[in-house]
Amino acid sequence: MEKMFFIIILLVMALVIGLFVAIEAKYNETRYDEMQELARGRGFKMGYTCMIFVLVGYIFYDYIAPRSAIRLDTPCFALLVVMMGYVVFEVYCAAKNAYSPLGHSSKLMAITDLLLCACCLFNFFVSLLDQSDYIVDGVLVFKAIYVQLSLGIAFGLTGIMLLIRLLMNKREQED
């Protein structure tokens, strides 16, 4: 019964995502900025390449590092790989002026990112005090608060990059 419920939830999620993509493709096709789309495509490529490098790098580290060296457990490693790809994508997009869709305020996006970063890091440090045993038998064990930390880093980096880009654009406009 529980297995059936899980499959139904997965199917519903797939249906909702499919509907969202179909609606987006139908109604948002004509309004896009081609330079931004190009930069996002390159950003995806760079993010993907970065994920591959992290994967290969960690496998190499795991192979050559002595037994006493700290290693990551599977969820920690998955989180690290995904966050690296995401951060590279976002920072590249911000650097190439592809951060906000047409008609969106980039200043508001930067402020939102920095606020979210502050919230995530605050939550991480508060939770950090209550927990212990991060490393068990030389393996960095996954804790839910690492998600807060990685989100904080990701939002912080993209927020800072957006602010730098906004300042550069302002100077460009003044020239």
């Binding site: 900025d33 081609e34 330079m35 931004q36 002026n97 047409l102 654009n169 460009e172 406009q173």
Partner: protein
């Protein structure tokens, strides 16, 4: 290669980069990148810019052989 023809045509029309971007439905940064020669626009965007500035494709985007 900077697109000075487009920049002067825009100035002649008394349009800012932001205004031209709004007419062509792209971001200001895209117009800026085209004028600076950092980005090659698609033919669709070239036509939109030409229409907005009342110019032909030749006048705005056909450079001298020495410029290419």
């Amino acid at each position: 290669m900077k697109n000075l023809k487009m920049k002067s045509a825009r100035a002649a029309k008394d349009l800012s980069q932001e205004q031209l971007a709004n007419i062509c439905d792209v971001s200001r940064q895209t117009i800026n990148a085209i004028e600076k020669g950092d980005y090659n626009p698609s033919i669709k965007l070239c036509i939109a810019i030409c229409r907005a500035l009342d110019k032909t494709l030749d006048e705005l985007f056909w450079g001298d052989i020495g410029d290419m």
